[in-house]
């Protein structure tokens, strides 16, 4: 469906992206994940024919973006990071204008406005001035114009940027609903957004795709073992004792105290890095030591770690880790106890 081969884009002497090689299949929802300045927007602008590549090829349904940009544009709907809206127009007029720009007939435009208004839940504001709309509705109208002409490929640049939590959930549902009928490429620097919305993730760093796969594939490929977050209530056993219990479990490589995962008096939380799945062993050891377990689960930050490893500069990654965690030295087994064994 979309074939990107050895794509480069330079702004003057500065390389913005490249080399980028990727393939996106029909009906997929693909997330382009990267930090600010990684090259996400440039990649999407090239896909949407807003920019031309310096070198390399991009083909949409076999049509080259440089050789036949107008044919490619017929197949693409694009929502940039700032929705391209004319404030003085009413939503219905704006959508009609966008439809006519794409060569749609009057009857088709009327039919599609009703359909996309239902899909994007903009039916109630169709006759409102765009200037009077909230940020969330502007994003929705932006998506409505992008899908109005039934494009094969929908390109969305940070569609949840600036939305409130309720709008984020609604926007996720909307993006998910576009999959299947459309191929969707959505960019974000927010990991949870991408992992919850997309079938596949392309991680971009310094203008290059450094990893590609589903969340599970990336975790499996890039994380050795498993990280478990544990939240406990301090009782008779103090921190040092708890850390000794955790560190003594077979397979545990590292124990780090982290910010408490839940509020409460005497609550401490640890992140345990292990070479294998140690959840049951940890549970048994803590129960035997009579420590109150509030929660014990695979770390939600696991994929975040993958993302940081892949996309952040090494120094930035170290700083981020230092800020969040305090490493607890793994306790050495007591030699005296060994000697007491029969």
């Amino acid at each position: 469906m979309i074939e990107i081969h050895e794509l480069h884009k330079y702004y003057g002497d500065r390389r913005a992206i490249g080399p980028v090689t990727a393939r996106i299949e029909k009906g997929e929802i693909v997330g382009l994940l990267g930090l600010n300045g990684a090259g996400k927007t440039t990649t999407l602008r090239v896909l949407a024919c807003d920019l031309l590549p310096t070198s390399g090829t991009v083909r949409v349904d076999g049509v080259d973006v440089v050789e036949q940009p107008e044919k490619v544009k017929q197949r693409i709907g694009y929502l940039p990071d700032v929705p391209p809206l004319y404030g003085e127009m009413r939503v219905r007029e704006y959508l009609a204008f966008a439809g006519k720009l794409r060569g749609m007939s009057r009857a088709d435009i009327d039919r599609r406005i009703a359909e996309v208004a239902e899909l994007t839940e903009t039916g109630g504001v169709l006759d409102d001035l765009i200037a009077s709309l909230s940020h969330g509705y502007r994003q929705r109208v932006g998506i409505a114009q992008a899908i109005l002409h039934r494009p094969a490929l929908v390109v969305l640049d940070e569609p949840i940027s600036g939305l409130d939590p309720v709008q984020i959930v609604e926007m996720r549902d909307l993006v998910r609903s576009l999959g299947g009928e459309h191929t969707v490429v959505v960019s974000s620097h927010i990991l949870s957004e991408i992992s919850e919305t997309c079938d596949r993730i392309l991680v971009i760093r310094d203008g290059q795709i450094v990893a590609s796969g589903t969340e599970a594939e990336l975790s499996e490929r890039l994380l050795s073992g498993m990280r478990v977050d544990v939240s406990l209530r301090l009782g008779d056993l103090e921190r040092a004792g708890i850390e000794a219990v955790l560190g003594g479990v077979d397979g545990v490589q590292e124990v780090e105290e982290i910010d408490p995962l839940e509020p409460g008096k005497g609550v401490v939380s640890y992140s345990v890095q292990a070479s294998k799945d140690v959840r049951d062993a940890l549970c048994r050891a803590l129960v035997q030591a009579d420590v109150g377990i509030l929660q014990l689960a695979r770390s939600k930050h696991e994929l975040e770690s993958v993302f940081l490893q892949l996309s952040a500069p090494v120094e930035g990654l170290k700083r981020a880790k230092r800020k969040r965690r305090r490493r607890v030295p793994k306790p050495e087994p007591a030699p005296a106890q060994v000697e007491e064994q029969p």
């Binding site: 949407a48 807003d50 310096t54 544009k73 694009y78 003085e88 720009l101």
Partner: protein, 240 residues
């Protein structure tokens, strides 16, 4: 062409809905009215001379209005991000430029037509021919088209409307002052420079009611040149 007209219609709609369009129309009418009264009606002049004075004043107002109207055409779209909608729609850059040009030129034409009551006053109360009035207005429209094209080109280069206006003036003023340079030079250079001046020699023919093909061709050529330059500038931005 239909997409260009679509863009032109939307732009005209934007002008007429925003205060900018009304302010420019009001400003031009006010200036032309005062100038007409001050230069034309307070001195003892022949009807044809009054009409000539009117066209002289109106040409100045037309140039200023053209630059103000055109400075926003592409720079504002770039500023607000709406240029992306046009860039990613299946239309050619020349259609975008043509549509923008037609909208600003339409506003200039509307403004110019609204001043027609002044020449009509001379026509009713004095002795001027319809041909003089028609040719004078043709000159104003051609000058407006050329100035809008210059402003549109400037707008295609700049990221802000103010910078676009400044760039437009920087291009316009030397083109106006070519006649002064022509006076300071010897033949045959002076004839050549005078023929290239945007206003003096080329516009005067229309003001006195003379229709000469060369002057018409001159304004069309200037308009075409700057519209082409604006199109190329728009195309070049995709490669940067």
């Amino acid at each position: 062409m239909s997409r260009a007209l679509l863009i032109a219609r939307r732009e005209l709609y934007a002008y007429l809905r925003s205060p900018l369009g009304s302010v420019i129309i009001a400003g031009v009418l006010l200036f032309d009215g005062i100038y007409f009264y001050w230069q034309g009606l307070t001195e003892k002049l022949l009807s044809a001379q009054v009409l000539q004075q009117f066209f002289y004043g109106a040409s100045g107002a037309t140039m200023v209005a053209s630059i103000v109207l055109s400075m926003r055409l592409l720079a504002e779209e770039r500023q607000t991000g709406t240029l992306t909608l046009l860039n990613t729609a299946p239309i050619r850059d020349r259609d975008i430029v043509l549509g923008k040009f037609l909208s600003a030129f339409g506003m200039i034409a509307l403004t110019t037509v609204l001043t027609v009551y002044m020449p009509l006053l001379i026509f009713v109360n004095g002795k001027v021919s319809v041909g003089h009035i028609v040719v004078g207005y043709l000159g104003l429209l051609l000058l407006g088209a050329a100035t809008v094209s210059i402003g549109l080109f400037a707008s295609s280069l700049a990221k802000s409307q103010v910078v676009a206006a400044i760039v437009g003036v920087v291009i316009l003023v030397p083109m106006l002052l070519l006649w002064a340079l022509a006076r300071a030079t010897d033949p045959p250079l002076n004839t050549f420079l005078a023929a290239l001046a945007l206003h003096h020699e080329n516009q005067r023919a229309f003001m006195v009611g003379t229709l000469e093909l060369w002057h018409v061709v001159y304004y069309i050529a200037v308009s075409y040149f700057f519209l082409l330059a604006a199109t190329k500038s728009l195309e070049a931005r995709r490669w940067r």
